[in-house]
Structures are given as C-alpha cells and as structure tokens.
C-alpha cells in the first residue's frame, strides 16, 4: 500500500547539535497519529520537517510518493500545518483570517470563487467559530484562537493535517473541545499527525502513537501499547508514582 507520508532515516543537525536522528515514519491515508515525548525532544522539528518547511540534513520525506523539497502552493493545497503560536498584528477578524486558508488554492491573481466561500463557511462551521466571524482575533480567548487556527487549516481542505501542540495552554474543557474537533476531522477522512503533550487526550483521539525519547530510538504503537508507565517513565524521566494516574485518566476517556 502506498503511504501518504513516509520518512526514511530522517536526521537534522543545527551545527553540533543533533535534533533528530534515524527517524523512520509511515503514515497511511486516514490515519491519526500522535507524536509524544518530553520537551526539547524534537516533536516540533519533526513536524516542520514533515511539512517541508525545514529541510532534513539526512534522509528524505515523501508525500504521496513524491519527495518534498520545499513548501509551494501545490504542496500547501495538500498539507496544512498549524503552528503553536500565531500573533496577528492588526485588527483582522476571524473570517478574514480563515479566508487566508484559501491562499494556496486561489493564489495572488485568482478570483474568489463560490467554492472558496463554501470552504471558508464549512471551516467556520466545523470549528464552531461561525459566531466569532466578526470578532477581532487578538480579542479572543486561548481556546477560541486555537479553534480559529484549526479553521484556517480546514479551509485549506488538505489531505494531511499537521498540528503542533493544539491543546497547549488550554484548560481541560477547551482541550477536550479541540480533541473532539480533531476526532471530527479524522472521521471526515483527514489524515492527522499531531505533536501533543496531554497524554490523557491521546488514547481517546488517536489510533497510533509515536514516542520520541531523548535516550532511545523512536517507538511506534497503539495508544495502549505506548502509554505504559515503564515506557513513559524512561522517556519523560518521570517518577513511576505519577504514571498510573495519568494512564488511568486517559483510559476513562476511551472512545469518541
């Protein structure tokens, strides 16, 4: 079976510092993969390399059988990336921001078509931000801003959605809102790869987990295989007494 996204022997160095090394990854169409691991292990870097924004110093990434060299409009129509931070300097409204998701499709000269308008409406609806469309982005709460960021990606109508810490700095209720949205997108057939810290959300939202560990090679498995105390302990360097609680809270939220 052709994989949607494949990475072989991926490595990245900044000078003497090795950020990634020997990462192999296959993501098939329709999959939902969570990348977990401690801070600084290279989750964001891996996502950026997978998206084409960063060129690996070793190995290569292929998307639908084609090697990714850089992000251009054609690639941006298929892969959407939602970075951790978004700072908007002027008083752009939610709708104006979400419309930018159509940039890869209509380019600089392209006319705004009905299809573009529908894609934006769908994105606003799915992310439950329709009621915020006239609001200025920087006046929104953290959870609302996160949903708007996802709305841009939805408007892009990508095949593959890469999310970098989508639940960062959100309260527990907003975290589950985002998790529900990710599940909804997955059910609609979108392939999703997300770097995520909240282990409690992983099991209920993702079917597959990649654990990046500073000491060991990356490991891949189902959430129940990977969210085991001994694995998490060595990866996160976290005393074992905290782990069972974490895993049991994750298990309480199994299933959509």
């Amino acid at each position: 079976m052709t994989m949607m996204l494949s990475a072989r022997n991926l490595g990245l160095r900044y000078g003497d510092r090795e950020i990634l090394s020997g990462v192999d990854l296959d993501v098939s169409a329709g999959e939902a993969l969570a990348i977990i691991g401690p801070n600084g292990v290279g989750k964001t870097t891996l996502l950026r390399v997978l998206s084409g924004a960063l060129r690996p110093t070793q190995g290569e990434v292929t998307f639908c059988g084609e090697v990714i060299r850089r992000v251009d409009r054609r690639l941006a129509r298929s892969i959407a990336f939602v970075p951790q931070m978004m700072h908007i300097p002027f008083e752009f409204t939610v709708e104006q921001i979400v419309r930018q998701g159509r940039r890869p499709h209509n380019g600089l000269r392209g006319r705004w078509t009905e299809h573009d308008a529908n894609a934006v409406e769908n994105a606003l609806e799915w992310s439950d931000t329709s009621s915020l469309r006239r609001r200025v982005f920087h006046t929104l709460s953290g959870g609302e801003q996160q949903r708007v960021k996802l709305a841009i990606a939805i408007a892009q109508q990508p095949k593959l959605l890469l999310l970098d810490e989508p639940t960062q700095q959100l309260d527990i209720g907003r975290q589950y809102e985002i998790a529900d949205l990710i599940r909804l997108l997955h059910l609609q057939g979108m392939t999703i790869v997300a770097a995520i810290h909240e282990l409690a959300l992983v099991e209920s939202t993702f079917r597959s987990v990649l654990l990046l560990s500073p000491q060991e090679a990356p490991r891949r498995g189902t959430p129940s295989d990977m969210l085991r105390p001994e694995l998490l302990e060595s990866a996160f360097n976290c005393p074992p007494r905290y782990q069972p609680k974490l895993v049991s809270s994750a298990k309480r939220r199994v299933g959509p």
Binding site: S51, D72, A76, P89, F92, T93, Q96, Q100, R103
Partner: protein, 357 residues
Amino acid sequence: MEVELATLSHAKERGASSPERRARHILWPLLLALCLMVPLSASLGAVHIPIRTILLASIERAHFSQEQQTILFAIRLPRIFAAALVGSGLSVAGLLFQGLFRNPLADPYVIGSSGGAVLGASIGVFLLPSFTFAGFSATALFAFVGALGSLALVYFVARSHGRTPVVSLLLAGFSVSTILSYSSYFLEILDRDLGTGMRMLASWLHGAISTPTWSQILAIACITALGMIASIPLCRLLDTLALGEEYAQHLGVNVELARGCLIVTGSLLTAAAVALGGMIGFVGLIIPHLARMIAGPDHVRLLPLVACMGAIFVMLTDTLARTLLTPAEIPVGVLMAFIGGPFFLFVLRRAGDSNTL
C-alpha cells in the same frame, strides 16, 4: 421562512457596518475630494486666482492673464501634483512597511528609509553631479539605493526570530536615520562651494516640496505608478503574511521572495517621494492608520484608500505650508511634524494600551 429572514438580517447586518462597504463608499468621495483639491489649492497663494477663473480656463485658456498662466502652469500645478505624488507614494510605502514589519509604527521616515534616500540623493548631488543612467540622474538612482540599503540595514538589525519588536524597530530606525541625516550634513560641510547643492540638501532635510518641472513630475509619476501596480499583489501577500511568516510559508507563500519584493517596492516609492519632497515624516504612519480605522486591516482594500488619502493629506498640508505665512513659506516637513508628531505619540500610547505591538 425563518431561515430566509435570518439570512436576510445577517446580510443586512453585514452590509450596514462592514468595513468592505465602508471602504467602497468612501473611495468615490475621496476621489472627488482629490479632484476638487486641485483647483482649490491652485487658487490659493500669494497671488489669489479665483476658482471660477481656473475652472473656466480649463475649458479655454483665454480666461487667464499671462501672469496667472505662469503662476498656475509653471509654479502651482506642478507643485500640487508633486504633493499628491509624494503623499500617495509615502503613504503606500508606509502601508507596505507596516505590513512587512507587522508593526503599525513603521513608516519610511521612522525606519530610516527616507534618511537613506536623502543621503543617497546628497551623494548624487555632491559627488556625482553629472552621472546619469538610463535617463535618470544620480540623485534619483542614489536615492533609491540609499532607501533600499538603509531599510535592509534596519530590517536586519531589528528582526529576531521572525518578529520585529517595536523597541528594536524604533531604536534601529532612529539610529540609522540619525547617522544618515548627519552624514548628509557632513557631505554639505565637505562641499560648501556648491550653493545650489546645499540649498537642495537643506530643503530635503526639512521636507520641502519644490517646484519641479513637468518632465520630472512625469518621471516620478511613472515610478510611483509602477510601485502602486506592484503593490496590488503584494497587498494580497501582506494579508497572508499577517498570520506570521511560518503560517504564510505553509500557505504556499515564498516568504523570502515576498519580503524582497516588499522592500524593493517600498524603497522605490519612498525614493520617488524623497526626490520631490525630501524627508517628510509621519505621512506614511498617519494615513495607513486612519485608513485602517475606516476600512479595517485588509491590505488590498486599503491600497486605493491609502493612496487617495495620502495625496489629499499632503496636498492640503502643502497648501497650508505655502499660504499660512505668506509670502514666507513653511517647509511642509515642519508642518507635518507638528501634526504627525503628536499623532505618532497618540498611536504609540494607544497601541501600547491595547497590547497590539
């Protein structure tokens, strides 16, 4: 039925207050005001020429006396058109720079681009007075190179991690601007014999719109028009760049290329404006800001508004500059500093309060 009503009321609500509509509605009155400003401004000055005479004479020249004709066609009209070009050029450059720096306090004067253009122009006047390239004098070419170089320097110094913090931007802009202005003075000291050059430099540094020849106006109008046309796709890019460079890149924008085009276009517009009016500050700051208050932040929508409002604003200020203390004349840069300086402080204060910098 309920749905229809809801859609209707939604559409109504969108129409009534939407900035898109406001932008469309205000553009025509602005264009009309711009057209009306020309005869109004032309009638005012040390010698008053009634507007009626000007309007009648636009149909048939016989209505003019010889003196009126000279005043109007050789002095006032060229200067009015120059003011309009300076205003629209600087304002659009301000819009591009603010979008590029993602910062509402960037304008050609504040970030040192005007200073670079003046230094470049001074080098052209003092060191290579007879140099020409493709029909353009050294003054115009060096002004462009100066604007480009100083902007690239400020950009390089002030940026870190894809953002341009306001403190770094203002400090870098201030330093570069000061170095460049005093370098221009230094050139003046070195070359005291050239009386005309010195006067030209003094007027550039104070921001005085001279009376250009029609061929100069035509050349600058072509450059400004070129800059404006290039700004249309760039404004579309700026809307995407507002999301941040990382986001823009993932939306398929070639960020490096976009940045380069913005710097070159902004510098071209600044250099064209400086060649006619010298260092006029704050226009590029005030006008995009006012336009944003009316039409929202969408750069494509702002472009025609900003060009129009900038032209009107500088025409108005220049008319005041030459009529307030008749027969003496205040350099328009001085008047602009009186209006723009307090406005800049107001924006700084307001932006600081709303934490948008």
